[in-house]
Symmetry: C2
Subunit: 464 residues, 2 copies
Amino acid sequence: MDDFSNAIQYARTHKQDNLDSLVELLKIPSVSTDPEHQLDMLTAAQWIAWQLTTLGFQKVEVFPTAKHPVVFGELLVSPKVPTVLIYGHYDVQPAEPLELWQSPPFEPTQRGENLYSRGASDMKGQVIATLGAVKAITASGKPPVNLKYIVEGEEEIGSPSLAAFLQEHKDLLSCSFALNPDAGMIAADYPTIVYALRGLAYFELKVFGPQHDLHSGLFGGVVHNPAIVLSDLIAGMHDLKGRITLPGFYDKVLPISDEERQALSQLPMDDEYYKKMMGVPVLWGEEGYSASERVGARPTLDINGLYSGFTGTGSKTVIPAWAMAKISMRLVPNQDPDEVHAQLRQYLTEHAPNTVHWDLLAFASGEACVTDINHPAVRALSQALQSVWNKQPVYKRDGGSIPVVVDMRKILGVESVLTGFGLPDDNLHAPNEKLHLPTWYLGIEALIHFFYNVAKSEDFKGGV
Amino acid sequence: MDDFSNAIQYARTHKQDNLDSLVELLKIPSVSTDPEHQLDMLTAAQWIAWQLTTLGFQKVEVFPTAKHPVVFGELLVSPKVPTVLIYGHYDVQPAEPLELWQSPPFEPTQRGENLYSRGASDMKGQVIATLGAVKAITASGKPPVNLKYIVEGEEEIGSPSLAAFLQEHKDLLSCSFALNPDAGMIAADYPTIVYALRGLAYFELKVFGPQHDLHSGLFGGVVHNPAIVLSDLIAGMHDLKGRITLPGFYDKVLPISDEERQALSQLPMDDEYYKKMMGVPVLWGEEGYSASERVGARPTLDINGLYSGFTGTGSKTVIPAWAMAKISMRLVPNQDPDEVHAQLRQYLTEHAPNTVHWDLLAFASGEACVTDINHPAVRALSQALQSVWNKQPVYKRDGGSIPVVVDMRKILGVESVLTGFGLPDDNLHAPNEKLHLPTWYLGIEALIHFFYNVAKSEDFKGGV
């Protein structure tokens, strides 16, 4: 048997090893947004560095950043073969609300064909899938391509340190293209390549009313309640057609081409699909666009959190001193997150009454991006998925945001190939996140195919 | 010296004793809305019962109710003198947010002329003021009136058990009138009699969207965000003139008479007063009414709390599964809390979109009420306040709600005289609640005057 066939064979006989590795990593509660998990972040980074070392990577390093470390590793076999830079992140979203988990988020639990744990799908499972593929390849001979890894710990907080890191280590990270398995499939029988991502802008708005909480009997009627003012401001951010009212918000939005509308309409994701996924009786969104268009190709504004006054059991007759909302927008080409920030600020300046004052905090943001579906790495991936699933992959716009894709293009000058083996019902960012194991095992095989396909492609000049 | 003069003298020389008693009671964290304080509630009730026993009350009993016990005590001296039923409550509001207190809420701390603690003003201080007056009177001779006490533990949660208790113990509670010191003064140099109270209706509204929290990238654009729906619903509850839009909300509201408008305009509580009290640059409220009118004689709707999704530090890109608001209305004569409940429900039925479902929970409520300012007990109180402060008391409508006043009129057939020695800047229901001690000491003297004035009045037939 040749190296490739041996590698596929190896992956099929070492499923349990890969699963064991994944469980080990999932047990580390690496929640990047929570300062209490600072040490867990370092543990997760070092765990990945150790995996790379044991896989024979020649250069493995955990680089400190302003916040959470970045893991780098490289395994160079020849200056004549292409170099694939594999991107991943080892951080996860907070697990709250904990009471809604059927099993504890950081105690991975298998039920049926799924493994339940925070990060199982987003994206520790995807990182381990690449490591499993690399392990199968290195165990079977000399790798067909040069491999580099960059695994960050700040994706779930908007990758604030990554651009600077890419800039500083531009040479170290030089490559033919990047593989980013942080996207997902549209269903277990639909291998998927994502060619577009939405951008993100995230804010915290606080509205301040009276100097301190007040008795609603003694002062109700003379003070503008900040929770009501906040509600007014939020209510005004959409019009009756579901369009966002921030001044100039749609000015730069790239319209969807007829060709793309046609392609999006072919996706097996209609209204019924979304209703079932979300458990709602009726969909909602911008008038004049289909569900797939609204999720993939149109910008949105959501409230991610609300807080004010008394939220405990029972009643407390208080007029709260302040009210807070977490507000975020998903952006499409060619919206600029900084401009959206300015638009929100202008909206608030124009609409907030003089009875209150307000404060707007901006979190990390990122632009939207689109990849050329004729890129040779995309073709190599397409063939790999077809070999394993025996069907053409679907090309999809994804509603999520992966700022690193934009940064890699800008700073390293390389395209990213976006895939992943998570499913839409994996409960990303929600309680009971899970990974569908049969799909994941197929994904590991597809990655092995992919690396060999890349090596065979004549479109890469190779070089480290 | 006569008994009366001795009693006044006793109060002046026993200030520290009264303060010590108050501090003891304030140390018991009797938060009625919080199940964790169940035992503290019983401790506070028993503490008050013990005070009555040591004061020589002949019959002292702690009655269990469905929730928190009621303390009863009686000291009968003669069937020929009037009987005063003194009302109080030993429960307090929650102390949260704790970090805003300058000293711990249940460790009473004196700074300058003020004593800081949750319940210092509302209303443990007022209960101890009556006990201090009664102690001075009993120490100086035979009391001039019969005395009964009813001290409940559920006022801050809307007195849900009280009506049934009054009904069941109607005979035991028979009296000439009730003294309710749960109102307050408008300033330290303005002794105040409250002749009207607003009613209350309190609700918790939950809006449910998707079955679980969703990733805002993968689903933003196809689901109606419940936090946005809740904001829309809240925003629609007031029109641009600050009027409440619930259907029929103002239909039964008793208009303010010209005479009363005139009287309210004489109160030393103008816009500047309220701005200073609340620390806001601009007031807000229903068009066409002055600040005093809006607080005392017009109904209001406030949001007391908001909660949805992610409220921690940092960012989490989630579309929340649900959103919650605590909503309450202050009512005026002749609004009916049950009708207001129906109006809110109708508003929600008419305005909530079919993309969500909602649930409305009603907490305890109470009607507004007005007392006749020519009632002999009011005159006795007026003279008492005048004797101590050397000026005419002001008659004031109060914006707060004391359901027991309505219940006592309906069930016991008696009027309540409303006063109290707290000040508007006492931070009721808010952090750093306090009591102004010099005013409180004067209040104790005023109560001694009051009991003797009642005994002298020929308008009471007496009887137990």
